[in-house]
């Protein structure tokens, strides 16, 4: 406990230090503060690993702030696991920020960045560690608040303004759902404690589940609540995107896991609901990602996809559990949690490296990048590792968790209900599609960003980023490989034996095969390579104009999924004469519709806007009308009281 307290203290100190010098532009202070954060993160890693390995939970009551409420903390294995996720990403992001903060913007605004980041991290930590829902709600709000301000970091950009309002409303919506769930729970059990209670009936449980699912779902970015995610991730600074995508949405997953498993009594249909939501999120997430050419939005859509995968694991857990298949249930849950960790790692890695790229090229449009592998080789290699992990390729970590989910799916036949099995098979095929599309998408992303020739002036003159911005992601890349290769052993240390291949052997085998191949190749070529122009059918030397573009790359897949991308045709024609015979000018445009935005979000927003205009119009009148309002109310009151009594 003491160590945790020290860690928290270090974070707070880091925040305070920068706040004290908030009006001075002193890089040394910022650096010192970030080092404090890194130290705190290391402490958290140490402690949470210890708890995860020894399975001794920590329990602590902090303070009683008012009659019914207090802060109590309980760090059990699950919490420790999520704390580990938070702190790993924290450490690497903080290392990355050592330089990124100095590079990305100027002015004293940077000073606010560090305290806010610390608060953001601490609120996530405390959310995970809280043993009562009141404290959780508080941390949840703090998390929303600090992340909102961080998203508004580049506040003068038009894009950020839009994002800000959108993000804020969505976070508030999620808070409201959580509040509903927590209030229901409090009123049913009489306490905020996060624990199963005999007072919770099946009906209440279901209501609470629905509220919490929506609340956490919004934060996690489940489709159809996902729309804030691409916006918020793309307009915030890259290290914050990494934190948000790597950790914040995981915190929502933690909430879901915690409540569904430990507090509420799950029913089969919850599992099915979660499974379907997960599958849809995964599939649509990746399909939208394919279409996206903004690197950070692309990554954000992949976050939606991966959240979907995590939810698939969770859904499978509930389904298997409700049939009493505890081994399979455990496998699914382990897969889901492991994927949570993996996604945190490789997604942070991708966001950080993408941030470096964006910083260097000054654009987020991948069509304007290209050829960066030559100017930024290390960043490219790191991004490649992230891309391979997220594409679930062996022996990287992403593969392990997806493998476990596949195995859980393959065991669906143990379920006695054939309808559920059919559902699982359908979800399985969609899941397979998802994972293959993700691979395609990352071939596109890596290929277009880093390979071939630069597509713009700025991409041509990019430089490798400073060392700190490589070390941070470097650690993550190392973890990507380590967690994949040693996955079998890691599960062993934790005391689990999931049925899965030992990737260490696979890895060793690969190396064994590599050695003779290398020898053969050395013998034959002597290591000499001749460089020559690319073959171009005899045409003049190809330039960046003739390269395959990102849109070209994803075009065939988009054609296959045409029904999902609804298009809008805009046709405007003007004529010189009134008989429409002499064409003057015109405009034709086909654009991809943002279905969720245009069919769900905007109608609701417009409805609210319309109502509010009516309401406020009724208040923009003169005194007579105001008195009339009072008059009518008085009459109604008099009548109501007279007649009701």
């Amino acid at each position: 406990m003491l160590l945790f307290a020290i860690g928290v203290g270090l974070c707070l100190l880091s925040a305070l230090v920068t706040l004290c010098f908030v009006s001075r532009n002193n890089p040394q202070v910022r650096k010192a503060a970030l080092w404090l954060t890194i130290a705190a993160g290391l402490i958290f890693i140490f402690q949470s690993v210890r708890i995860a390995l020894t399975d001794q939970s920590l329990n602590y009551t902090f303070t009683q702030i008012a009659p019914q409420l207090q802060f109590t903390f309980l760090i059990d294995r699950l919490a420790a696991f999520f704390i580990l996720i938070v702190s790993i990403v924290t450490v690497t992001v903080a290392i990355y920020s050592l330089r990124y903060v100095e590079v990305s913007t100027s002015g004293t605004r940077r000073n606010l960045f560090i305290p806010l980041m610390n608060i953001f991290i601490l609120s996530m930590l405390f959310f995970v560690a809280s043993a009562n829902s009141f404290a959780q709600l508080l941390c949840w709000e703090l998390m929303s608040l600090s992340s909102f301000i961080l998203v508004m970091y580049h506040y003068e950009k038009e894009e950020t303004r839009k994002t800000g309002i959108f993000y804020f409303i969505m976070t508030q919506m999620s808070t409201i759902f959580l509040m509903l769930g927590f209030i229901l729970m409090y009123n049913a059990t009489g306490s905020f404690a996060i624990a199963a209670s005999p007072f919770l009936t099946a009906g209440t449980n279901t209501l609470i589940f629905i509220f919490l699912f929506c609340g956490f779902g919004i934060k996690a970015g489940i489709i159809p609540f996902h729309k804030w995610l691409p916006y918020a991730h793309s307009s915030s600074p890259s290290n914050i995107s990494a934190l948000m995508s790597g950790v914040m949405i995981k915190v929502a997953i933690y909430g879901m896991v915690r409540y569904v498993i430990f507090v509420l009594d799950p029913q089969l249909w919850w599992g099915i609901l979660i499974l379907i939501a997960g599958t849809i999120s995964a599939l649509l997430g990746v399909i939208y990602a394919l279409k996206e050419h903004d690197i950070k939005r692309l990554l954000a859509y992949h976050s939606i996809e991966n959240i979907g995968i995590i939810l698939i694991g969770l859904g499978l857990y509930i389904i298997f559990d409700s049939y009493g298949l505890s081994d399979l249930a455990f496998l699914s849950l382990a897969a889901s949690l492991f994927h949570t960790l993996n996604h945190a790692i490789f997604k942070s890695l991708l966001f950080l490296t993408a941030g470096s790229v964006v910083e260097e090229t000054g654009t987020r449009d991948i069509e304007k990048m290209g050829g960066l592998v030559k100017t930024m080789p290390f960043t490219a290699a790191l991004f490649l590792i992230g891309a391979l992990s997220i594409s679930a390729l062996p022996p990287f970590n992403g593969f392990v968790s997806e493998l476990m989910i596949f195995q859980a799916f393959f065991s669906a036949f143990s379920i006695p209900n054939p309808y559920v099995v059919i559902l699982l098979i359908i979800c399985l095929s969609l899941f397979a599609l998802t994972s293959a599309l993700a691979a395609a998408c990352f071939v596109k992303a890596f290929g277009i960003i880093f390979l071939a020739m630069p597509r713009s002036e700025k991409a041509q003159h990019a430089h490798e980023v400073p060392r700190a911005m490589l070390i941070g992601p470097g650690i993550l890349a190392f973890l990507c490989i380590g967690l994949g290769v040693f996955s079998f052993q890691i599960f062993g240390w934790l005391g689990f034996k999931p049925p899965m291949p030992n990737l260490l052997w696979v890895f060793l085998t690969l190396i064994i095969f590599l050695i003779p191949t290398l020898i053969v190749m050395r013998k034959t070529t002597g290591g000499k390579i001749r460089r020559s122009g690319t073959w171009s059918c005899g045409l003049p030397a190809p330039d960046s104009q003739t390269e395959y573009t990102a849109s070209g790359f994803s075009e065939p897949i988009l054609t296959f999924f045409k029904p999902i991308y609804k298009t809008d045709k805009i046709l405007i024609r003007n004529f010189w004469d009134k008989y429409d015979s002499t064409f003057k000018n015109g405009q034709a445009e086909i654009k991809v519709m943002k279905i969720f935005e245009e069919r769900i979000y905007m109608p609701i927003a417009n409805c609210v806007r319309y109502l509010s205009q009516k309401v406020s119009g009724a208040q923009n009148v003169d005194l007579d009308t105001f008195i009339l309002y009072s008059f009518i109310t008085v009459i109604i009151l008099v009548l109501a009281v007279g007649w009701i009594l």
């Binding site: 007579d624 009339l628 008059f631 009459i635 008099v638 007279g642 007649w643």
Partner: protein, 223 residues
């Protein structure tokens, strides 16, 4: 228990009071409006005198005297002064309600207050007192109707005064408050009218004018 003549007298007075109210709703000339108000206030004073005669409560007597002094003399005088100062003599604009429909609504209001008060007070009060209370509340609502339907601030002020009369009437028949409270209410009323008068001039005058008038108010405050 009450003298039948007094009852008759009070009922007649009720009719007159309602009549003045109706006239106030319709009247366009400001001077007549103020006169009507003082007549109405006088009628109120008479009502309270009659009640004083019946119950012997000195509060009612002093109330009657107070009413005569402030509402029959001082306030109409002030209002007339404002009228002369501002040069506005007529308020011929009507909003939401024409005079005729205002009267119809007024009748509906009496019915409304009657019906809802009836259910509450049916067991606790005898007939005349109940009627008085209903007329009082209706008068208050009619006053509000004046505020709604008339444009000029001065007219609105008269509407407010009429409301106050209604409240007073209600008090007379339900339970008279301690005299000190009544006194304060009246003082409050006077200040209100003063302020409304100054402000109503402010609405129609230039900024310098307003400042000057405000300064007059300042002097008043200093004294």
């Amino acid at each position: 228990m009450m003298n039948p003549t007094s009852i008759l007298l009070i009922k007649v007075l009720f009719v007159f009071i309602l009549g003045t109210a109706a006239l106030i709703i319709m009247q366009k000339s400001l001077a007549s409006l103020f006169s009507l108000y003082s007549v109405q206030s006088l009628l109120m004073a008479v009502v309270s005198l009659v009640l004083f005669k019946e119950t012997g409560s000195y509060v009612l007597l002093s109330l009657a005297i107070l009413t005569v002094i402030t509402k029959v003399v001082i306030i109409p005088y002030m209002l007339n002064k404002v009228r002369k100062d501002s040069g506005i003599h007529r308020d011929s604009e009507f909003r939401y309600l024409t005079p005729v429909s205002a009267i119809l609504v007024g009748i509906a209001l009496i019915f409304v207050s009657y019906s809802s008060f009836y259910r509450v007070f049916q067991l606790s009060q005898d007939n005349l007192f109940f009627l008085g209370a209903v007329i009082g509340v209706s008068l208050a609502l009619l006053g509000m109707l004046v505020i709604i339907s008339r444009k000029k601030i001065v007219t609105k002020a008269v509407g407010y005064l009429m409301m106050e009369n209604g409240v007073l009437l209600f008090g007379l028949f339900i339970a008279e408050l301690p005299f000190i409270i009544e006194l304060f209410i009246i003082v409050d009323l006077v200040i209100f009218i003063l302020l409304a008068a100054v402000l109503s001039m402010g609405i129609d005058s230039t900024e310098e004018d307003l400042t000057r008038k405000l300064n007059n108010l300042t002097k008043w405050f200093k004294q």
